[in-house]
């Protein structure tokens, strides 16, 4: 009898009310302008809703109005902490339509830059994720290493954040003379620095308590939610576009795909840490085998792909980043559709959060590694 009443939510000593807490869009740890509406019972989350679109710029619609070459810089601004990866996806998509053969050297340099970008993106993720959980020092350490990568970008591309690295058909410039030694220098310091983060976090009791068993997604559930990237691999699914459908020059390199076991926040953390090490291995192989030659294929000044459609996807730092384009034979795409990994991964937030506490929601937003530029497009 009493149990039934308790189940109905009556017969409590005081009037118990569920509180609706509006987290964001201006909030320190929603990683941008994400608005999360939480329904709280005490501190336990019983309901969660994401309100997105505060950063909507209509990139897909802009794609229909601009020529193929003009669209590229807009892709830098999708996932603004991994601009180079975004460029690679779009540029390769257009090349697929044009059926252009990109020179080997350009492919290798693209791989080097993209993997550097993956390391930079994961460093930023690690820093903000750790800061959300309260370990502020890791953030500053991560920024120190990310700075090195950004300096390499700056000298090669001219920009640090929205690095417009690639052109349709290859690269605009060849690498500068110090490029190779500088990347090698960075690779030399990176393992030691990753050890530093792992010393701070891996065996840290508080870090373990905050991440182990939090936001568990079994493999089936992760697939049902169509997660990709480290969020999926943390659940133990060995799916990586670089291996599944090798693009660019990835078929030439040997590397492992790290996977987790339990699909909790800690496993996703381990997967990303291991991915950074694997990226370093890829870069080293690419530098060793960097061929000489031109960096730009013969591409017409005005790009008019043949009538048809294309879907191309790459393994971005956040997951499978895809582009679907329909060409009607003119200089502008008839339709451009982006598959943003952040947006799709974000859909699992509700599934993971319910039943956890407010503090875990912050950790879970962090573990998904979302970037609102990409979510809202």
């Amino acid at each position: 009898m009493q149990d039934q009443q308790l189940a109905k939510g009556q017969e409590t000593l005081f009037d118990a009310e569920e509180m609706v807490l509006n987290m964001g869009p201006q909030h320190p740890s929603t990683h941008g302008v994400l608005r999360v509406i939480l329904k709280l019972d005490g501190e336990t989350v019983v309901g969660l809703d994401c309100d997105i679109g505060f950063l909507h710029r209509g990139v897909e619609k802009i794609g229909e109005a601009d020529t193929y070459a003009m669209i590229t810089p807009y892709w830098d601004r999708l996932d603004y902490v991994a601009a180079v990866s975004n460029d690679l996806c779009y540029v390769e998509g257009v090349e697929k339509m044009l059926q252009v053969e990109v020179p080997k050297r350009a492919e290798y340099v693209r791989v080097i830059l993209t993997e550097l970008q993956r390391i930079a993106s994961h460093l930023l993720w690690l820093g903000t994720h750790a800061m959300d959980i309260g370990a502020v020092t890791v953030l500053l350490y991560c920024f120190r290493e990310r700075e090195e990568i950004l300096k390499i970008f700056e000298d090669f591309i001219g920009a640090r954040l929205t690095a417009h690295a690639f052109r349709i058909g290859g690269l605009w410039w060849d690498t500068y003379p110090e490029f190779e030694p500088r990347v090698r220098d960075f690779l030399k310091i990176l393992p030691g620095r990753i050890d530093e983060y792992e010393t701070l976090l891996n065996a840290n009791r508080i870090w373990l308590q905050r991440t182990v068993g939090i936001g568990i997604l079994p493999a089936e559930e992760a697939i049902n939610l169509s997660l990709t990237g480290p969020a999926l691999r943390g659940s133990g699914v060995k799916y990586d576009v670089r291996k599944a459908q090798p693009y660019s020059a990835y078929a030439d390199f040997n590397f492992e795909i790290p996977v987790g076991e339990n699909g909790d926040t800690y496993d996703r953390y381990l997967v990303r840490m291991e991915e950074m090490k694997q990226s370093a291995i890829i870069i080293e192989q690419a530098l060793d085998g960097l061929p000489e030659g031109p960096v730009m294929a013969k591409v017409p000044k005005i790009i008019k792909p043949p009538v048809g459609e294309v879907y191309h996807s790459i393994e971005g730092p956040k997951g499978e980043l895809g582009v679907y384009m329909v060409s009607d034979g003119t200089g502008k795409p008839y339709r451009m559709r982006i598959r943003p990994p952040s947006y799709i991964n974000l859909q699992s937030l509700k599934r993971m959060s319910i039943g956890h506490l407010v503090a875990d929601v912050v950790a879970l937003i962090g573990t998904l590694d979302i970037v609102l530029g990409e979510v809202d497009r």
Binding site: L38, N204, I206, G213, D264, V358
Partner: protein, 456 residues
């Protein structure tokens, strides 16, 4: 009247007495009006300056830990930064939210800062005249008054009329009340040895016993140090102001100097808890080899004023060491979650404190002189109180504390927490995974899928 006051206050130095020689009766004015006022002004001035510079120090320490420089712009090495911060906070617009409860909103920071500053009166900053009031229940006074500070936080959270503030205040009140119990329990073991609650009495007892109570009470010190972190809302227990979740916790709606008052309260609470730890466990103003009359056996210190100044420096140095440890923890460790924090408080700190009291009591009774019913007879009476026999007694207490008490208490805590959620993380993970699977299967079977708690 005068008798009570004499027991409360230390005798003023001669120069204060001579300062008030025009007044009659001379002694009363000198000792109960002029001298305490001088002490209060000096202590407040020094502590508040210290608070301002602790903020600077914290920024510098964190900067050096994080491979950056910290404040460098205002003055040489940014030394004038606290001043600039203070001026900025003073001339900021004073914002009180329209929906806030005005009176409560205004009163809350005042309660906080007053509670934090009043306890400075009984801290034994140095030997002889360096304490404002030598209350014979000094330690109890500190515990009692500093817990009033919780009220300030609760009122701030409630009066702000903001959800973040409310959550922060709920967290902080629960946290501070819980950790105060552990803190109170942890010092009882040391009090058994000291047999007094007077702050300078405790230091004196450590001198007579010939050993800092850290050695007799390592577990008590550990529990105290952790509870003190929780009590002062410092990382890794800084949940009430967890920036990543609650923006700024209970002081989200505060700005300008009201906010600075909360900050002041937090840092002076740090100083106070460190001072208590130094007094109870770390031998106060004593250093090994330094006594009131000699310096490492090199020669006698004949000047009592010099001795007092030296004692103040030693005391402050020990406090600064502890505060550095506070900062070190803050910039190294992640933050606990609310339920884990409560678990640590109730399932680890309080049982450990209680077990420590019981075990210390047993060791103490066993060591009593045989005439008083003890078994080992390792204590002797000296100047009206029991002290451990030289060496044999001291070694006995140290060995029992380190070799027997700590393993027993550890075993007890493991027994209590074996099945708790965070103790065995591996099993916990498997269990949750299984639960998740079952829920998923159930969800897939049920058709149509139940609408999951939509908020909007």
């Amino acid at each position: 009247m005068q008798a009570i006051l004499t027991t409360l206050l230390f005798v003023a130095p001669d120069w204060v007495v001579s300062l008030t020689r025009e007044r009659r009766p001379n002694a009363f004015w000198a000792e109960y009006v002029v001298w305490p006022l001088i002490q209060i002004v000096v202590v407040l001035f020094i502590v508040l300056t210290l608070v301002a510079y602790l903020v600077y120090l914290e920024r510098k320490v964190s900067a050096f830990m994080q491979a950056r420089l910290g404040p460098m712009r205002v003055g040489p090495w940014g030394l004038l930064q606290p001043l600039a911060d203070g001026i900025k906070l003073l001339i900021k617009e004073d914002i009180i939210p329209i929906k806030a409860d005005r009176a409560v909103f205004i009163v809350a920071p005042i309660i906080s800062v007053v509670a934090a500053l009043v306890v400075l009166a009984v801290i034994p900053w140095g030997a002889t005249w360096a304490t404002i009031a030598n209350v014979n229940i000094g330690l109890l006074f500190i515990l009692a008054v500093s817990s009033v500070g919780v009220l300030g936080l609760v009122l701030a959270g409630w009066g702000s009329n903001s959800k973040y503030s409310l959550l922060g205040a709920l967290r902080s009140s629960a946290q501070m009340v819980s950790y105060e119990i552990g803190m109170g329990l942890s010092i009882i073991g040391a009090l058994m040895f000291a047999r007094t609650l007077s702050m300078s009495g405790i230091i004196d007892a450590q001198r007579l016993d010939g050993m800092w109570y850290l050695m007799f009470q390592p577990l008590g010190f550990l529990v105290y140090a952790i509870s003190a972190l929780g009590e002062t809302n410092r990382a890794p227990f800084d949940l009430p102001e967890a920036e990543s979740e609650l923006v700024a916790g209970y002081h989200t709606e505060y700005s300008g100097f009201r906010w600075a008052l909360f900050f002041m309260a937090e840092y002076s609470a740090m100083i106070v808890t460190s001072a208590v730890a130094v007094t109870v466990f770390l031998g106060g103003w004593m250093l090994p080899g330094v006594t009131g009359t000699s310096l490492f056996g090199l020669g006698p210190i004949s000047n009592p004023t010099l001795h007092t100044f030296a004692s103040i420096i030693v005391f402050a140095g020990k406090i600064m060491l502890l505060i550095y440890a506070y900062m070190w923890f803050r910039w190294t460790w992640p933050r606990y979650r609310y339920d884990q924090l409560m678990e640590l408080g109730w399932k680890w700190m309080i049982p450990a404190g209680l077990a420590n009291i019981v075990l210390t009591g047993i060791w103490y009774v066993l060591a009593l002189p045989k005439s008083q019913g003890g078994v080992f007879g390792l204590m002797q009476e000296e100047r009206g109180r029991l002290i451990p026999n030289r060496w044999a007694g001291i070694v006995y207490f140290i060995v029992t504390a380190f070799v027997v008490t700590i393993p027993i208490v550890w075993g007890l805590l493991v027994t209590i927490n074996r099945r708790s959620r965070d103790f065995n993380l591996h099993d916990q993970r498997q269990l949750q995974m299984q639960l998740r699977r079952e829920r998923l299967e159930k969800m897939l079977q049920e058709q149509p899928r139940p609408a999951e708690t939509g908020v909007q």
